[in-house]
């Protein structure tokens, strides 16, 4: 049996967990490739036009996997948890995929995170193990092991980011959902341009999760979505060590449409760029926008240094 994993949306958050879990259980899996033009094109063709870019990309990955595996992994999150709610997209995506591809004999494999159960994630993975015909002890071991791998990977990211923060270059905090900024087609080009321009991108989503969650309410009290809480909560952690902030969103992201506006209205001491991505922008245009933003940052910085 082969499990297909779409390299989009929650993959970017849970890749270590998923891969190690399946590896430990000796289950074969296949990943869709990095997002490319063709994947986006197919995904868009299958999507309702107004869907957010991230979910269009996701459908493209699912489509790529269709005839290449036995099951496609699509986890599902409930509408609330201790840390906040999730974007409605994540509640629906399982059923959306099932309905869109129902004529192409698709088999979905899911685990559902239900906040009413204690050890929610563990319970979900044990269930998943059961569906895969594994003994409970096996699944438990695989899960705990995968959790370790995940933890190590996160710590590594944090250490690496701390090192980057020491660099003597302009630093720009990039606030974006992980699946957007780490997507090879829509996110990575932005990071590359920033690096080419001799600046250091600092990724908001890498911030230590607990600390970020403890922080968000300083900026926005009633913010409901976990993902955005983590991003907003990273601002107090990094703000004093960066020179500017980029808010990168996938068109027309629901949560970001409000959160970005709050941030622009409330954060007055750093230059902010609101960058909406629809997947159609050319490299040149993006370069110009980022360059002029970097110019503003440099100018402000020089001005401040002059004053001091």
């Amino acid at each position: 049996m082969i499990i297909g994993i779409p390299r989009a949306l929650l993959y970017h958050k849970y890749k270590h967990l998923w891969k190690s879990f399946f590896k430990e259980l000796g289950i074969d899996y296949i990943l869709s490739p990095d997002t490319n033009k063709e994947i986006l094109r197919k995904g868009s063709a299958y999507s309702i036009d107004e869907s957010c870019l991230s979910s269009k990309i996701y459908l493209g990955h699912v489509e790529w996997l269709l005839d290449k595996c036995d099951y496609i992994l699509i986890p599902r999150f409930s509408d609330y948890s201790r840390n906040g709610t999730v974007c409605p997209k994540f509640l629906a995506i399982y059923d959306v995929v099932a309905n869109i591809f129902r004529d192409r004999s698709i088999n979905l494999l899911s685990y559902s995170i239900n906040p009413k159960v204690t050890h929610v994630e563990m319970a979900a993975f044990l269930k998943l193990g059961k569906i895969l015909n594994k003994k409970k002890s096996q699944s438990l071991y695989a899960y705990l092991n995968a959790k370790q791998v995940e933890k190590k990977a996160h710590l590594l990211e944090i250490t690496e980011q701390e090192r980057l923060l020491q660099e003597n270059k302009l630093k720009i905090l990039v606030l974006a959902h992980r699946y957007n900024i780490f997507d090879k087609y829509i996110g990575e080009p932005i990071l590359n341009i920033l690096r080419e321009q001799e600046t250091v991108p600092i990724i908001g989503d890498i911030a230590p999760q607990k600390e970020a969650i403890a922080n968000y309410a300083q900026i926005s009290e009633t913010l409901p979505w976990v993902c955005n809480r983590e991003l907003v909560g990273s601002i107090p952690i990094y703000k004093d060590r960066v020179d500017g902030i980029i808010l990168m969103s996938a068109f027309p992201c629901g949560p970001d449409s409000l959160v970005n506006e709050i941030l622009i209205r409330r954060i007055k001491d750093k230059p902010i760029l609101n960058l909406m991505i629809d997947g159609q922008e050319g490299k040149a245009g993006m370069e110009t926008r980022l360059e002029s933003f970097i110019d503003i940052i440099r100018f402000k910085k020089d001005e401040q240094n002059g004053r001091n």
């Binding site: 107004e50 974007c87 997209k89 399982y94 129902r102 009633t222």
Partner: protein, 355 residues
Amino acid sequence: MEEIKASYPQLGNYCTPLELLFTEGFDVKYIVPPPITKKTLALGSRYSPDYVCAPFKYHLGNFIETIEAGANTLVQTGGVCRLQYYGELHEQILQDLGYRVNFVNMSKVQDTNPLTFYNGLKEINPQMSLQKIGKILPIVLKMFEYIDEAENFIRKNIGFESNKGAFEKVHADFLGDLRRVRKKKELKNTYRDYMKLFKGIEINKPADPLKVGIIGEYYTIMEPFSNHYLEKELAQMGIVVDRWMNVTNTLIHYPKKQIQKRIKNYAEYPWVATSMATIDRALEFARKGYDGIIHVKSFGCTPEIDAMPILQNISKDYKIPILYFTFDTQTSETGFNTRLEAFYDMIIMRKETKK
């Protein structure tokens, strides 16, 4: 102390029971929000982020209009979806515009215990009494239900009235009289009397009229300006209009469990907001053999966008045409009318050939 003059944005005709709740329950003056118009939308869009959903813009515009009409206390409710976060941004924008009002954001106390919730409510009027609220609340809720029931009846019959304007006239009188109601008995009598009047209006309905069901997102479906008065247009074409979505069926008696069960074949997991009801109603209209369904939503509404692939499957499975409308601040009148007319031509032709 300055007199408290409170308000909540306009939605359909619900300002009538809200007025009762605010005046008799919260013991404050209620500012009836000005009706939603082009001006509301222009104001709201000017100060809102571009691609936020349209209800946010309508609410913002209407808040500004109510402030101009004298309100000094504005209430925003919590809710699911983006609505949960509307309040904080509305408050920020109004503040940045220089409006000094008491903004009561019920999102702050959402999902808390009843006591905290009540304390949140008290921000409207620190002097309010639980007793007064307890006394008026059942009447307020009943008023919502009666308005919904009357309007259900109107939607199904107004397209066939013999004397143009007959229903609208009685409807306006009904709402006007409801504003004077304070007691349960009065409410009941008013409702009964007016239902008699509604039923007495002369209509000329064919035996098998065209029937269209309307489904979709909460605000857009209930605030007629925001959907280009879709229901009125349909009625003028001589169509029975059916719409389940209203305050009674969602906020007062929402059959979540039953809905989940009924839509199992199309949606395995529960969803948020109105999308489950959208799917459930589409199924119901399809099964009942309606001639068509119209789905409405504001641009970018994620839950309703996600319901669409399912609606498309229902449309295929039950062979029922579904027309999809997305409304944003720039939806053109001509585009809307052209599509609606094409839809009408199609369903009427299908009906003819079926005969």
